[in-house]
Symmetry: C2
Subunit: 197 residues, 2 copies
């Protein structure tokens, strides 16, 4: 029985990942109760984001500048490109602060099931960047899922002609992981890739 403005708000909130109809109702009431401290700031933040955020034409990252801050950062190695599926993966890598090269966001994985072919991903632009002689290594950081690995193999094949070094992330036991809880595939991979200490 809530008014149409509330109904509309709940419907839109329910479309966010992780929120269903019930939690969308809870979120809407939470917001309305905190009109000054949360509802209005969130409305403004969404408007600001809608206006300011651009897709980087070079790497596909999201930022308020185009090209993005990473592509224009002179301190980052332009010879090293890390290929990820999504912007979320780029953020995950950035949080580690372990990578000082640049990125390339594919925008997803190849998927016969969902009808996503190579032309739906940013692979052509990657091939273009790889052709630059300044680029020395391309690291494939697609997920270790079937779709992520298929995509990685496809990208590696496409890049073979460029003569650039193509590497992928190591597979193995996650740091803090217990062997007993790991799947067979991970354990075999870790065993095969064992290193002397």
């Amino acid at each position: 029985m809530p008014g149409t403005e509330i109904e509309r708000l709940i419907q839109l909130l329910a479309r966010l990942p992780g929120l269903g109809p019930r939690s969308a109702r809870r979120a809407a009431l939470h917001l309305i109760k905190r009109r000054e401290s949360l509802l209005q700031p969130l409305a403004e933040a969404l408007s600001a984001a809608a206006e300011a955020i651009r897709v980087c034409p070079v790497c596909g990252n999201l930022d308020v500048t185009a090209p993005c801050a990473i592509c224009t950062d002179e301190r980052r190695d332009p010879g090293l490109i890390c290929v990820v599926e999504e912007v979320a993966d780029l953020w995950a890598l950035e949080r580690t602060a372990a990578f000082a090269g640049r990125y390339h966001v594919l925008g997803g994985t190849l998927s016969a099931l969902d009808g996503r072919g190579p032309e739906d991903l940013n692979i052509d632009t990657l091939a273009g960047r790889a052709a630059d002689p300044a680029v020395t290594e391309i690291i494939l950081a697609t997920s270790a899922t079937v779709e992520g690995q298929t995509t990685g193999h496809y990208v590696a094949e496409r890049l073979a002609a460029c003569g650039v070094t193509v590497t992928r992330l190591a597979h193995g036991v996650p740091v803090g992981g217990e062997l007993d809880y790991l799947d067979d595939g991970t354990i075999s991979a870790a065993l095969k890739a064992r290193r002397s200490i």
Copy 2:
């Protein structure tokens, strides 16, 4: 490494119930990817809600009119008032379409732990409404939790002087519930309140 506009959006989304930092990042990317279909509509819905939604001065419900649509609906029995803790509870009762009276939203429960006393709830306005001779019955629909029941008892005592009939929701086996999974308190309550068939 995301731009400040994205950071701010993520921080605000993380303050919604049910969303943590990780799901707030996912939600932010989901929104930015759907700028036209979701981000902008949500920004507008939030602004519209901030502007339009009022707290009903009679019952405490949220609506775009004050008094709310329920308080002004002539087809609803003005002699029957259902007392609930929160607007979400009012919505839950309205979804059943089983109640055709009016409501009173307390705005929470009494809680010594959280320092919420009677003066923090809409109890005085309820006593005022109960004094109206047109009101014949007040149904306490607070939660069957310790705090909800304490609040219900307090409200019932406050209303005793008005001479109005005060009732509460029945306790018993939830429809579809299996005895084996129910707590002892519910089973005893259902047994005590057994009815002939």
